[in-house]
Subunit: 1009 residues, 2 copies
């Protein structure tokens, strides 16, 4: 039953689709019908590639997929459950008024299906009216997937390219970009030679010193451009972008005036819309395509050492994804210097471990510091030198070099951001993004639905005649259909409340883990049999709980953020993305870092002092920062050298086997428990385990495992469904079939998010963990290829999106960079022992060395003043204890105001705070200086841009002169003659010749109803 509108139409509609109200009635005479009849099958071998229409000439630029089910099929075939599964997740019964008469004898499913069919027909009709050419297969089975292939003919491409101001190269020969003086030239030549094995072997990649002059495409200036072959003048990504642009703005009046393909997909009218990949990436044949090239030179682990072929990535995936990989590449390469310096800082710690006076003093068996018990009753007094090993290990991370390293890292963050700005500018120049304006964005379907609901409600409230204009009127969309602050208020409130709740939840979980540690420790230490394993058990389980909680909450928060953003109903896709990112970032940031912040700044600071400890849930003392050595003194003590070398080894181990440390972590914590004299060590370990565990588990499980599982599940599902599809199809699948079976592309947010959180690990606490950049580097080398592989082999081709920058991520990055200055200042000032040592050295030490520092940091406590019932129950300590020592600056028991903070305390505190102020302002000033010293636009690029502009003016002036000359000479000829008409002929003639069935020739075939 052929449609009365289109000769090639193969649908089952028997009813007139009716006049859409979109003002096409006056123009209906010019409706163009480009449907192709796909009924005569061409043999697959005869076709050039599987990416063309069946006429083998027109390239498929875009594919719309939908699932059809013929009328009454579910009744006849008796598989209602199955077809239901596909269709019924739409908004069934949502638009009851839209259903025309004659639906009565159909089931509700059929009615919905018919409705959709008509909407599709109208939409496709509108697409054809916009000049696109469509092809689709017969709906010859009772149900199945239909692919509507879309081809954009030249005149559509040209028109849209002009609207979109797409810059294309003009005829003028390429010119070389200058590379400074001769020395710089030589140097860069040497560099190029050296790096040549690292360069991917991609044709376009070598000439990144050459640049075509380009100018926004204009049909009136066709003579400017070097148009040899119209089919290939615009590359595939641009073509699909143009089609996508048309798809986005085409209105379907039947479907409530929904604008664009995204709304239709959201309403299940279509199932998917995607551009085609360029071919197969693993085809054994010789034919090369960009996808295969990308796979071979970029998306394999085997080429991890090579630079990325950014230009090719951009050409294939568009600017947005190109910028992501460029950013990731820059970030990864920027991680190399801090990795090296981090290792040097760590090695410096290893090397100077023997020269560290405080830890030597602590280990000195002659110094006997009797420490106060670490818990009530069951803990005994202990000797400080039992913590010797841990003190030495602590020196690995807590030394003078760390301070300079963290200054370096703060500047590094600024440098990185500056260089990214420059790279972005450079890429923007080479990719002709200079001067592009923000593209107009259409409303999200959810927003439109909400607005429609609101309008309906309002019109119901008022008059009936208003209802009529609202439901049928197409033009009053712009008048009052905006969500006001009042409409949004519940959403905002919900958002605010939920985020507060989530953050509170995170904090309470952190607190819960603390309570768990305290209570378990107390419970276990009551039992003599378990007492020796208390610390191991408690710490190991606590860290694992922390890690698991972080991983689980991370996923939950991702979903919550999405849900919250949906509630907010942002207007455009871009605001949706930005708000989602902000929320998700906030939640994930708090989640990932709150345990670390606790360890860094709060742990052990609210312990109280012997005699007046702080208790939670009366009876449980707050955990001390120095929870070490309670066991150490019972367990056989490893030699200091052994400890320090084990620490070094353990820290290097992840280099060899990333999985190892996650398992080793708890034990490492046990052996490296932070010692009196600095809690930086514990922070370092907490950080390393969370960072490594997170990266490892997220990379391996979520990024590799889950997609594999999904694919498997999909395959299984397809196989059960595949019974009906013909076997020839599955043997020689078309490209659109292949692409359809891939995962849809869902945006770059998760990729960026992962990296940003990692960036936080690298910068925020770098003072406590100098090896973080190294681990990040190793992770990222894998990450780049992992992502690349995903994009090339596992996802449908994303729409090429033109964008100038990485958007809100840059702000987040620079925010983290700024925050890292403060956080590092506090880590050095408060968590590390750097300042107390400095103060001791310059204010108290008799000879300017650190001798006596340990003694100086320990206060005295009169044992007789211990509260009743908290004394050690059965002390095995060998000598009688009168005073025990604890780590704090307090007045001794014999002072007039015992146990008050001493003068030293305030002196050290002043020094710490002064350090924070100096560090913060100095580093911020240096950052501003770096920011200011490095121009945002590289000099060569800005020179080039200026030069290009003057070249363009010259070029036009020359054209001008020639035109004038032509006008002068043959004054007899018509005023419109000359080269202009020639160029126009070139632009308009082929549209009438080379493309059969297009605009002019096909309009006469149209039979209007």
């Amino acid at each position: 039953m052929p449609s009365p509108r289109a000769p090639g139409w193969q649908g089952s509609s028997s009813r007139d689709p009716g006049q859409p109200c979109g003002g096409d009635s006056p123009r209906s005479s010019s409706v163009i019908n480009n449907y192709l009849d796909a009924s005569e099958p061409v043999s697959l071998e005869a076709r050039l590639s599987r990416m063309h229409f069946h006429d083998n000439q027109r390239k498929v630029d875009y594919v719309l997929a939908y699932h059809y089910r013929k009328r009454g099929a579910h009744l006849a075939q008796g598989s209602p459950g199955h077809s239901l599964a596909i269709i019924s997740n739409g908004e069934r019964g949502k638009e009851p008024h839209a259903g025309g008469p004659g639906d009565i004898e159909l089931g509700p499913l059929d009615a919905l299906e018919e409705e959709r069919k008509e909407q599709r027909e109208e939409f496709e009709h509108n697409l054809m009216e916009a000049g696109l050419e469509l092809e689709k297969d017969l709906e010859n089975k009772s149900q199945g997937s239909i692919f509507v292939r879309i081809h954009a003919p030249w005149q559509v491409l040209a028109r849209e390219a002009e609207f979109l101001k797409i810059k294309v190269p003009i005829k003028k020969e390429m010119y070389e970009i200058k590379a400074g003086g001769s020395i710089a030239k030589k140097f860069s030549a040497v560099l190029q030679k050296l790096s040549s094995p690292l360069q991917p072997r991609v044709p376009e990649h070598s000439n990144n010193k050459m640049k075509n002059l380009s100018y926004p495409f204009s049909r009136e200036k066709m003579y400017l451009y070097n148009i040899q072959e119209k089919d290939t003048f615009f590359d595939n990504a641009t073509r699909s972008r143009i089609v996508h642009e048309i798809l986005k703005r085409t209105v379907c009046s039947r479907a409530n005036n929904m604008m664009g393909i995204n709304s239709l997909i959201a309403n299940n009218i279509y199932e998917a819309a995607y551009p085609l990949h360029d071919g197969e990436y693993d085809s054994p044949e010789d034919d090369m395509n960009d996808r295969k090239l990308l796979y071979q030179e970029w998306a394999r682990y085997g080429v991890f050492y090579k630079f990325q072929p950014i230009d090719l990535i951009r050409k294939y995936f568009g600017e947005k994804i190109g910028l992501y990989f460029a950013w990731l590449g820059l970030y990864t390469s920027f991680l190399i210097p801090p990795s090296v310096i981090g290792v040097i800082v760590f090695l410096y710690g290893c090397a100077t471990i023997e020269e560290d006076i405080p830890s030597r003093e602590m280990c000195d068996q002659q110094n006997v510091f009797t420490m106060c018990p670490l818990c009530d009753k069951s803990c005994d007094y202990w000797n400080l030198n039992s913590a010797c090993g841990t003190a030495r290990a602590s020196h690995l991370f807590d030394n003078t070099a760390t301070v300079f390293f963290s200054i370096f890292m703060a500047l590094w963050a600024t440098m990185f951001l500056e260089n990214w700005k420059r790279l972005q500018m450079r890429l923007g120049y080479f990719w002709d993004l200079t001067g592009i304006e923000e593209e107009e964005e259409h409303s999200r379907p959810e927003y439109e639905t909400k607005v429609r609901e609101k309008m309906l409600k309002e019109s119901n409230k008022s008059a009936v005649q208003k209802l009529d204009t609202n439901t049928t009127g197409c033009d009053n969309e712009d008048d009052e259909d905006k969500l006001t602050w009042k409409d949004r208020f519940p959403g905002y409130l919900m958002n605010f409340a939920s985020i507060l709740f989530m953050i509170a939840l995170t904090f309470s979980i952190v607190f819960g883990v603390i309570v768990y540690r305290i209570t378990t420790a107390a419970a276990l230490s009551l039992n003599k049999a378990t007492r020796s394993n208390v610390r191991v058990t408690v710490t190991a389980t606590a860290v694992i709980i922390n890690l698991v909680v972080i991983l689980i909450l991370d996923e939950i928060y991702g979903a919550v953020a999405k849900w919250l953003t949906k509630i907010e109903v942002p207007k455009t896709e871009q605001t949706f993305e930005e708000r989602l990112i902000l929320k998700a970032f906030l939640l994930k940031f708090v989640n990932a870092y709150s345990p670390i912040f606790y360890v860094a700044f709060f742990k052990g600071r609210f312990v109280g002092r012997p005699g007046s400890y702080v208790y939670v849930f009366d009876g449980y003392r707050m955990e001390e920062a120095s929870i070490a050595t309670g066991v150490s003194c019972l367990a056989p003590q490893p030699s200091p050298i052994l400890i320090s070398s084990t620490a070094c080894l353990h820290s290097f181990m992840p280099l060899l086997l990333r999985a190892h440390l996650v398992l080793m972590g708890p034990f490492l914590i046990f052996s490296l428990q932070c010692a009196p004299g600095g809690c930086l060590m514990e922070l370092c370990i907490q950080l390393s385990i969370i960072m490594l565990g997170k990266q490892l588990i997220q990379n391996n499980i979520f990024e590799i495992g889950v997609p594999k599982l999904k694919k498997l599940f999909r395959k299984l599902k397809d196989e059960t469904e595949a019974g009906e599809t013909d076997s020839a199809h599955s043997k020689h699948p078309e490209q659109w079939d292949l692409d359809y079976s891939l995962e849809p592309y869902t945006g770059l947010t998760p990729e960026y998010m992962e990296m940003i959180i990692q960036f936080g690990f690298v910068t925020l606490f770098v003072a406590s963990f100098p090896l973080a950049p190294l681990f990040a580097l190793l992770n990222n080398v894998i990450e780049v290829r992992l992502d690349a592989k995903k994009f090339v082999t596992e996802l449908r081709r994303p729409d090429a999106v033109r964008t100038k920058d990485i958007g809100i991520w840059f702000d987040i990055l620079s925010g983290i960079g700024k925050f890292s200055v403060i956080s590092n200042a506090f880590v050095i000032a408060i968590t590390s022992d750097f300042i107390p040592r400095l103060v001791y050295q310059y204010s108290y030490s008799h000879n300017g060395t650190l001798h006596g520092f340990v003694n100086h940091t320990l206060s005295f406590f009169n044992v007789s003043q211990l509260k009743e019932g908290t004394q050690p129950e059965n002390s095995q300590f060998d000598q009688e204890v009168q005073f025990c020592r604890f780590k704090d600056y307090r007045e001794p028991p014999w002072a007039p105001n015992p146990y008050e903070f001493s003068k030293q305390y305030w002196l050290v505190l002043s020094a710490r705070l002064a350090f924070v102020i100096i560090f913060q302002n100095l580093v911020m000033f240096l950052s501003v200086l770096v920011d200011w010293m490095i121009p945002d636009i590289p000099t060569d690029i800005s020179d080039q841009i200026k030069k290009e502009k003057s070249l363009l003016v010259d070029f036009f002036l020359k054209e001008e002169h020639e035109k004038l000359k032509l006008m002068d000479e043959p004054a007899l000829r018509s005023p419109g003659g000359g080269d202009r008409s020639r160029s126009r002929a070139a632009s308009s003639a082929p549209s009438g010749q080379s493309q059969p069935g297009s605009v002019i020739s096909s309009s006469s075939q149209h039979t209007n109803v």
Copy 2:
């Protein structure tokens, strides 16, 4: 002797100017000669206005002025000195090779003059070749000024407008910009009604809610625009901008290939180049022009209360100056809230003066604190309650409200910058600046000279053949003629050294003033007769010296910065400006603020303590912060109430009479010398006097007086010269004559600089001087009209420069904003008594009040430990003194470590530093929050921009459809037919018809040599 090239040429050149090498030989047949013969004088009355050519039709868009002197005139007339004065400041003898043969019999002056004449001829020839039309008067006297009037005909305007992408309104009717909901609409209507008397009565100003759709001008889309009258389609500013653009890029090959009019002016080939004003601003007739309108509604003190007609300013002066006044207006109106709040804070201080416990305690005659003497030998012990009055006055500025005020001001600065960004965007939208790209800039003449010198030197070094290509070649400019880092190094080094030197100079002057105070005080106090006047004399003279030094150095530094930037030889005008601004700002900032910084943070902090004072130039004690009361106790003590009310009065006085305070300042200082218990008062006074004095003197003397003097001088000079010019000319001067007599426009830098320094006064130390915003506001209300008057009446019309933003000034402003957070944090923490009081109240006070605070801040000193020879010589103190008190936190003499800093000291220091950290980070966070909450682009504008874009696409799509229809219907016609050729005809036809003597018709007149 008419030139052989141009029929209308009236010059005296007898030689063939020769072929310039700029590639015009192949095109010389198309050289257009638009010189007009001005020999037939039209009667002045018959002419429409004095802004047209003598044919009364063509508007003068630009004027080039030069001074000519006929060959041998200086010999014949015997006035060589005079003509020398005009001509000889060029680079005489600089290009000896450029002089052709036949110069031998001429004097060197004549040769130079001839040379210049030829260069002018070539330049004017090139201008005509570019399509411009020129008119000039006869050089009929032996010497005089010649004005070359330039008119841009329509086809030149159209061509250049297309190159410059000037946006012009398209035909579509204007559409209204939505104003939110109905409530907002009503509200804005009420607001508009209320503010209507404040609105300037300017025609275009009322419809700022309407906006034309605009699109870059394109000659191929002529049908889009609403071109009614070609002569007025582009307004005067745009016309002159277009001409200026051509002037900038026209090459004069004779003059060493110098590019553009600026180079020619720099080489004295022309004297001036300026667009014409629109008429006279004070003409008594009825004819209205924009200049007159601006004068009446904007540039008079009488309209100071009105808003500025920003759109008209922009229309008349161009975007750059428009933005300056928009900025100034926003800044001034933003000063209103802080002025009000500042006054409230001040009044709060006045009101609570009686409740301030510390000052009450100080005034209590029962509390006897015997203070240590303030200087060696000649000073006596003194009673603290003699400083009572000053303590009370100090409370006026140093109270809790100040803290909140300075938080408010930090946020205010952020708000101001955010709002400026928004206003800038809004203006950018209404002025069609969205999407404009940076314009290509030509090198500065100095840069080119330097490059030429370098090339000459290098070519001299190498081969002779290279020399040839360098001096005659025109095209290798782009190859190696760049100044490398090596060339610039001396300049940079010089810059660096000079700036360091200048800063050191400033510091040493500040130090010098300190030394002056110390020594004079010491010298005067030796003499009994002068002793009673010591403080008055010293302080008064010191502040006056400071002010004078600041004012003098300000001028010097301005000149030095200019000189240093010249040494640096920046390439473009823009970099020159930016570097000059940065340098000048740095120097002026240091100059203006270093005495204030000294008072705020250093004064009195390096005094030492009794018994071990710090001495400079052995013998002179460093001045104490609390230098007060040395006299006060000798002079009759005014009652506290009197003092405080006088202080209030004195602070309000400038409202009434701005000049008063400068004279009163020293005496005010005397009476308000900062008291023990906070040195904020002194800072406040220092600040107010420097700020007010600077504003007053700079405004009155430099901005009003100096130009007046200059004008007078010029007039006198002109009168002596005027003997030769004809009297008819001076009776009815042409507009170009009038404009020529005005001062040339030299840029906005001084205007911005003054405001920025003021912005610093308002924000940096607002914690110490809450009235600063008020004074700034009063100053600015005058400043706006002062600047306006200058631009409208005293300066030549500036070139209309298109710019999107205020450039580097924004960065400087935001830098000051950020710095102000830190500076205010330190002022509150360190200079004010806020923190010590807080600490006392919560840590030491027995009942939570401030009772006993004064006692707590004073340390004891055992008089017997005073160094030999420093005791008061003849103490008149009534009781025997054993311990004297001094303001510091030190251990008492009876402690185990006497005079060491006490625990309180460190506690207070910790609190101060903690406050700095909290304040800084809190305020910075709030600023970021404000920055983030306020979108940079106002929502309505961004909506509008998007809507405009979609309207444009719709518009084009409609055009497209119409075109297609036309192509479909008459298929017989040629494929290139339709409305396209019509539009082209419209664009090209008038150029051949309406403009006699232009392109086509005049080319045949040309007689080639």
